[in-house]
C-alpha cells in the first residue's frame, strides 16, 4: 500500500517538476539565456528532491499530527498534574515519570506558564516539573515517526531515549541545585482551583484533531518548505561524504559546534528531518546530527521569552545551560554507541 502511495507521489512530483522546468525554460528563452543547466544532475536532483519530499512530508505530517492529536486529547496537563501531584512524584522516579508524561503531553505557549505554575502549586518538586517541561517540546512524536520512516526504528528509539534521558538528567540536576528561590515570587502565591473533569466526546476529539492539523500546517508550512529546500540544494549539489572530515564519527569537536549553532536556530522538527537526512548523507555522524536537531527544536527564543515570565534570569540561564550540556553529552555518547 505504501509503495502505491509512494508511486502516486512520485508521479505528482514529476508533473510539478516538468511544470517548473518548462516555466523556467520559457522564461530563459524570453531573455535569450541558455537552458543547459536544466539538464544538469544538480538541478534535476535538487528539484525532484524538493517536490517529492515536500509532498511526502506534508502528507505524512497531516496524518501523524491527526493521530497524535487524538492520542494527546486523552492527556491534558490537568490530568498529568493529578498523576504527579500530592507527593506522588518524589526522587528520581518522579523525574522519570514526569519526563515520560511530558512526551505525550502537547507543548504550546498557551500552557507552558500555567503548567509550570500549576505543578509548583500542587507541590510537585521543581526538578520534576522541569523534567516534564523539557521532555514536552523535546520529544516530538511528529519528528519521531518521521525519523522512523526515514532512518528506521533504531534511530527512532534512540531519539525518544535521548530526549527522555536529557529531560530526566536535566531535571535531576536542577532539583539538586535547589533553585526554588529563582522562581518568580508570584508563582508561589497563586491558588489553583479544581476543575471538573471535562472530557470531550469522540466526535469533538476527531473534529479538534482535524482543525489542529490545518492550523499547524498553516503555521509551519513555510519552515518545512525552507527545510526541504535547503535539503534539496544539499542533495543536488553537495557531494556525499564531504562532511566526514569535519563532522564524522571521530570528530568530537563537531558535536559541540553543531549544538552551539543549533541553539539560536529554530525550526519545526518536521522541517529538520530532510536536513538531518542530508547531513548524514554528507558524512556527519548520526549522534552529531541528532544533537543538532535537538538543539534546534528544543531551545528557541520564543520559548525562552515565555519561560522568563515564571523563571528569574539565573534559573532560566541554568535551564538553557543544562539542556545544552546534556544534549552535547548525549551527542557524544551516541556517536560512540552507534556502529
Amino acid at each position: 500500500m505504501f509503495s502505491l502511495i509512494d508511486w502516486v507521489l512520485k508521479q505528482i512530483a514529476g508533473i510539478l517538476q516538468s511544470g517548473l522546468t518548462g516555466l523556467i525554460a520559457w522564461f530563459c528563452h524570453l531573455f535569450g539565456w541558455g537552458t543547459g543547466f536544466l539538464e544538469s544532475q544538480g538541478y534535476i536532483g535538487a528539484v525532484s528532491f524538493f517536490f517529492y519530499d515536500s509532498l511526502k512530508i506534508l502528507l505524512m505530517l497531516s496524518l501523524i499530527i491527526f493521530i497524535v492529536s487524538l492520542i494527546r486529547s486523552f492527556f491534558p496537563p490537568e490530568r498529568t498534574k493529578k498523576l504527579l501531584g500530592e507527593g506522588k512524584a518524589r526522587g528520581i522516579l518522579g523525574n522519570i515519570f514526569a519526563a515520560l508524561l511530558g512526551t505525550v503531553t502537547p507543548f504550546c505557549s498557551c500552557s507552558a506558564v500555567p503548567v509550570f505554575i500549576g505543578f509548583i502549586e500542587a507541590g510537585i518538586p521543581l526538578g520534576v516539573t522541569f523534567s516534564f517541561l523539557i521532555s514536552s517540546p523535546m520529544v516530538n512524536e511528529v519528528a519521531l515517526i518521521m525519523l522512523w520512516g526515514m532512518f528506521g526504528w533504531q534511530i527512532a528509539i534512540l531519539y525518544i531515549a535521548t530526549g527522555v534521558l536529557v529531560a530526566i538528567v536535566s531535571g535531576l540536576i536542577i532539583g539538586k541545585l535547589k533553585m526554588e528561590r529563582y522562581v518568580e515570587d508570584y508563582v508561589y502565591q497563586i491558588k489553583m482551583g479544581q476543575a471538573e473533569d471535562v472530557k470531550p466526546s469522540w466526535k469533538q476529539r476527531i473534529s479538534d484533531a482535524g482543525i489542529y492539523v490545518l492550523e499547524i500546517l498553516k503555521k509551519i508550512w513555510l519552515y518545512v518548505l525552507i527545510g526541504i529546500a535547503i535539503g534539496a540544494v544539499m542533495h543536488g549539489w553537495a557531494p556525499t561524504g564531504w562532511l566526514v572530515q569535519y563532522a564524522g564519527r571521530n570528530k568530537p569537536f563537531a558535536v559541540f559546534v553543531a549544538v552551539l549553532i543549533g541553539i539560536p536556530l529554530y525550526s519545526n522538527a518536521a522541517g529538520m528531518i530532510p536536513i538531518v537526512k542530508e547531513l548524514t548523507r554528507m558524512g556527519m555522524a548520526m549522534g552529531t546530527a541528532l544533537s543538532f536537531m535537538m538543539a534546534v527544536t528544543a531551545l528557541s527564543l520564543p520559548e525562552m521569552i515565555i519561560l522568563r515570565k515564571v523563571l528569574k534570569p539565573r534559573l532560566l540561564a541554568v535551564f538553557i545551560g543544562i539542556m545544552t550540556v546534556t544534549i552535547i553529552f548525549i551527542g557524544y555518547l551516541f556517536n560512540i554507541v552507534i556502529g
Partner: protein
C-alpha cells in the same frame, strides 16, 4: 448569563472569543461576555491549558476551541 473566555491573548483565545460572540448573537440569548486574561484568575478555575470556556462559573471546555455550534448547545442548556 455570564460567559467567560479564559486566555492570555494567543490566537486560539481570540478565536474562542469570536466564536462565543457569534454564538451569543445567533442564539439571541442575552449574555455578558468577559475575557479573563490574568493567569491567577484563570488558574483559579483549575485550568492549565487555555483557551477555556466558563458559563455561569462552570467550566465547559478547556484546552480547545469549541465551534460556534457547540457553544450554542452549551448556551441552550
Amino acid at each position: 448569563m455570564v460567559i467567560k473566555v479564559l486566555g492570555s491573548g494567543c490566537s486560539n483565545c481570540k478565536k474562542l472569543e469570536e466564536n462565543v460572540k457569534d454564538a451569543v448573537r445567533q442564539s439571541g440569548i442575552s449574555a455578558e461576555v468577559l475575557k479573563v486574561q490574568e493567569i491567577g484568575e484563570i488558574m483559579a478555575y483549575g485550568v492549565m491549558k487555555t483557551p477555556a470556556l466558563v458559563i455561569d462559573e462552570k467550566v465547559k471546555s478547556m484546552g480547545r476551541v469549541p465551534g460556534v455550534e457547540e457553544i450554542k448547545k452549551y448556551l441552550r442548556d
